[in-house]
């Protein structure tokens, strides 16, 4: 009996943990099209509905494009809306991702990060969601099933307060299909955390209004200025949601996490499930007398640039681990971090394409990397990890 006994722990995989979070958040409408490895989210929501535990208009349209179209339309009526997808499905939605954010629909979507075809694959890789970074969606990345449950609930609060759509992401298999102990919060705690709030604009048959109608240049320009202002509020809203969630459940979150960064001489910077392995590598390196740390980016859009600069201010070397690939440039977190640091000094950056296509990145590889690049010459090109 080694584990600290905690009766409220259930064994759930990452996708079922998400479904629990969605059930507790209580969306009115959920249009979802199944796709590996997202499907268990939809299956679990259908099971909840069959048990009479999930009172939601669950729609299964003929494609992800239609699912997002239905999500936008439902959200325009003022409904709380959830959808979920992965990879090819997310990319099929691309056109409507812009529409959802431009029309300021606070839709929450869960995306399971999976390699984009071709070649066809099912493996953990964040290129699918990162290639949607300019669509105006808030993006959050989760490390483990518990965080996925917690974050999907927080996402509704952030979306509805900013009137921007929010995409939460976790990695295929390592999180989506990892069965682990997960604490499911009380329904009342979630209801209190997530009060219904009136929208600034909604469609109603009794009102003569339209959303997304053709606009002149000035109105279109103004819409982006307003989105920009809303995005500027998201970092604070994410912090607030993470803090209040901590008060409600004992599990607080921030826009990024600094792990063992006290006195660190080098830091891994990463997102998603890679952070778990990097955390283990940091502990092993510290045990061996090497002052390593880790910065895990949780909020990717808007990029918390000032927080990143502060977290890395006194660190000589940062090793960026990207489980994604932008051909012709390299790792996307590496690019974004370099942009955030430009003109502010900061650490020497080394960008690694680590685990692209879902290949395994063992803890020993990360330990060796930290030793190898402690005193290395600066590198600018991305470095592929085999």
């Amino acid at each position: 009996m080694n584990r600290m006994l905690n009766d409220d722990l259930q064994l759930l995989n990452g996708n079922h943990a998400v479904a629990w979070g969605v059930r507790l958040a209580g969306p009115d409408v959920a249009p979802v099209y199944p796709i590996t490895p997202q499907t268990p989210i939809l299956e679990k929501l259908i099971a909840f509905q069959a048990e009479g535990k999930f009172d939601c208009d669950l729609i299964t349209p003929e494609s992800e494009h239609s699912a997002m179209a239905a999500a936008v339309a439902a959200s325009a009526t003022g409904a709380r809306v959830f959808t979920a997808t992965s990879s090819q499905g997310l990319m099929l939605m691309h056109e409507l991702l812009h529409y959802a954010s431009g029309a300021r629909m606070p839709i929450v979507m869960f995306n399971v990060n999976r390699t984009p075809a071709a070649p066809w694959g099912f493996w953990p890789d964040q290129t699918d969601s990162l290639s949607q970074r300019d669509t105006g969606w808030v993006q959050l990345y989760s490390e483990h099933p518990q965080e996925s449950l917690d974050t999907v609930v927080q996402a509704f609060r952030i979306a509805e307060a900013s009137e921007l759509p929010v995409m939460v992401n976790h990695d295929a298999f390592y999180v989506s299909h990892a069965v682990e102990p997960v604490s499911v919060p009380e329904a009342k705690a979630v209801r209190d955390f997530l009060p219904r709030r009136e929208r600034s604009l909604w469609l109603d048959t009794g009102l003569g209004r339209s959303i997304g109608a053709p606009a002149g240049q000035e109105a279109w320009h103004a819409s982006r200025r307003e989105m920009d202002a809303a995005m500027a509020r998201v970092e604070g809203l994410t912090r607030e949601a993470g803090r209040l969630w901590g008060e409600a459940t004992g599990r607080a979150y921030d826009v990024l996490e600094a792990y063992r960064m006290e006195g660190a001489q080098q830091a891994f910077v990463t997102m998603g499930s890679m952070a778990g392995t990097a955390r283990e590598a940091v502990d092993r390196l510290r045990e061996a007398g090497i002052a390593a740390g880790m910065v895990r980016l949780r909020l990717f859009r808007p990029l918390p640039a000032a927080a990143l600069r502060a977290a890395l201010a006194d660190i000589p070397v940062a090793l960026v681990l990207d489980r994604n690939f932008s051909p012709g440039m390299g790792g996307i977190v590496h690019q974004e971090l370099a942009a955030a640091l430009y003109g502010h000094g900061g650490p020497r950056l080394h960008g690694f394409l680590a685990g692209v296509g879902g290949i395994n990145v063992p803890v020993e590889r990360l330990e060796a990397l930290a030793r190898e690049y402690r005193d290395a010459a600066p590198t600018h090109a991305p470095i592929w990890l085999e």
Binding site: M1, N2, R3, L5, L11, N13, T36, W120, G121, F122, E143, H144, D171, F173, Y174, V175, H177, A178, V179, E180, P181, S273, M274, A275, G276, T277, R279, E280, N360, V361, P362, V363
Partner: protein, 182 residues
């Protein structure tokens, strides 16, 4: 940390066995992580289940490359690539009617369990996972037989008594073999 890899063919129950084993270890007080990996999931293609169990929360999110124990549902999958996922001296339980000497284990400890025969004797047809779980738990020394049986009782979709009997028979057979070896 205890690391286990289970390999089978889609439809054989390797993923279910991984989940049941994780549940039993969790019920005994350990933190667990178990995840399945598969390509286009369909009957007959290889499906792996990777399981970690530890006294502290598990943070690693990588493949298991030096498992303490392997469980193989189909001896046609007992190739070098699979065996290499077990560390030197790892326990390898394989569903086979053949003797341990029929396998080249490369320094690993091979324990065949005739899951098909046990399943057939217990009116389980070709469904071997309860038998293999019983044999595997006996060879590994954990989880306790009763922990496995409690999970089978909660999760078996049908033929609960037959599943339990197959699990117990395999457990007793392997435990007996190990006693003889000592």
């Amino acid at each position: 940390m205890l690391e286990i890899v289970i390999l089978g063919r889609g439809g054989q129950g390797a993923q279910t066995a991984g989940n049941q084993l994780a549940r039993a270890l969790f019920d005994e007080g350990l933190f667990v992580q178990v995840f399945a990996t598969y390509g286009g999931a369909r009957r007959g293609t290889p499906v792996a289940s990777s399981l970690r169990a530890d006294a502290r929360p598990i943070r690693l999110r990588s493949d298991i490359t030096r498992a303490d124990a392997l469980l193989c549902f189909d001896e046609s999958l007992m190739n070098e690539a699979f065996l290499k996922r077990g560390r030197e001296g790892a326990l390898v339980v394989v569903n086979s009617a053949r003797d341990a000497t029929a396998f080249e284990g490369g320094g690993r400890c091979i324990v065949p369990v005739d899951g098909r025969a046990i399943a057939r004797r217990n009116d389980m047809g070709k469904v071997v996972n309860s038998a293999l779980l019983g044999g595997f738990a006996a060879a590994l020394g954990q989880p306790a037989l009763e922990s496995i049986c409690a999970v089978i009782e909660q999760t078996a979709p049908a033929k609960v008594a037959q599943n339990l009997a197959a699990c117990r028979e395999a457990h007793a057979l392997v435990a007996g073999q190990l006693e003889e070896m000592v």
